[in-house]
Symmetry: C2
Subunit: 212 residues, 2 copies
Amino acid sequence: MDAVEQTEISQLDNIGEKAEQIFEGALQEFLVHGYAGTSMDRVAASAGVSKATVYNHFGDKEGLFIALVKRLAQKKYQIMVESHKAELMETEPAVVVRQIANTILDNSLDDQEHLAFVRLVIGESGRFPELAKTFVHHLGKPGIEVLTEYLTTQCYITILDPEAMARVIIGTLAHYVLMQEILQGKEIIPMERDRIINTLVDLVDHHPKPEI
Amino acid sequence: MDAVEQTEISQLDNIGEKAEQIFEGALQEFLVHGYAGTSMDRVAASAGVSKATVYNHFGDKEGLFIALVKRLAQKKYQIMVESHKAELMETEPAVVVRQIANTILDNSLDDQEHLAFVRLVIGESGRFPELAKTFVHHLGKPGIEVLTEYLTTQCYITILDPEAMARVIIGTLAHYVLMQEILQGKEIIPMERDRIINTLVDLVDHHPKPEI
DNA sequence: GTCTATAAGGAGATAGAC
DNA sequence: GTCTATCTCCTTATAGAC
């Protein structure tokens, strides 16, 4: 396999060894200190390369930041959506909703990198609107769409507005992660994850039949 | 009324005219540029005072930032929770949920200051955990508690876990604001607010009676 | 309390050798 | 392509006059 073919296999790999190092260093710094709080000196040091090399690869600080966030969004997409699509073919709504909820929470609640990434994208969404949109496109939209598709085909009798219901489910889970972990509220307003999941499962399991 | 009594009436007013100016300048700068992206020079200029005056009042940049965010959290609390508590005494669940949803969305979706404030608190929640907790304590917790109290007393027959259901309702609305406005996703995944509200109203209106 | 002026250090970005 | 050394500007914070 030659170099040209390799670049078509994945947009994440084979970008050069130095570039990989720079991404790794930039990841550490931007996730911890934010965009304005990160210096290119520390990125270079953390990556183990000189500052000039960083500029040679990514042009300027903004270019590096944008490339990093887009790369991370793609990576998260593969983890959260692609690798779990197969599981969605179960027919029992209760089982499917429980599985989706567990997938989202398992990949969020204890993953400090993910929590820092969400903080970063939301925090910079006013100054980098395109990055916020990339995040929505790669992580918010697919989750809602996949669940909507499922609810539409499997629960069309009981759920009047599947897309709105998908947003209820995803929104509840996202807000739970935001409140408990990202905003560090788990000691202030504790809530067991299973109570959230059970309540969501109930919503689709015995939902109101339209009155007959 | 003398000065001592005045300070007990509200923690928001009567902190000195210069301090008020500084808060106003700091508000503009921090909400737009974030913590690290804001310079004390621009805060002073925006406030119309000298930089030394800012330092005399608030010690350092961090002190000013913390004071500003705490002040804003209190202000938002009064707008979002206190001023709407009376409306909660309606007995119809459908009416109450619709009212809460409209209160939250009316005070969020079009309020650029509020959206920027949420961006700021989430974005800085890793570096200023106490501020994140203040936000949860003043804005997240009261909303959930008030709604939980209502659902517990008024819907105890149909809702098995009122606190979890309160989080479903609040979480759905918060996530809607986050996706559509804060992360600027309204063109990417459009959704009418009334579809969200109607779906939430249905949840409490004809919720599953436990099987008899 | 408030101002002007300044200290001391860090920031983004580049020139030029290799 | 990568490095070292450097340029220039901006940052937080304070000293000292009033």
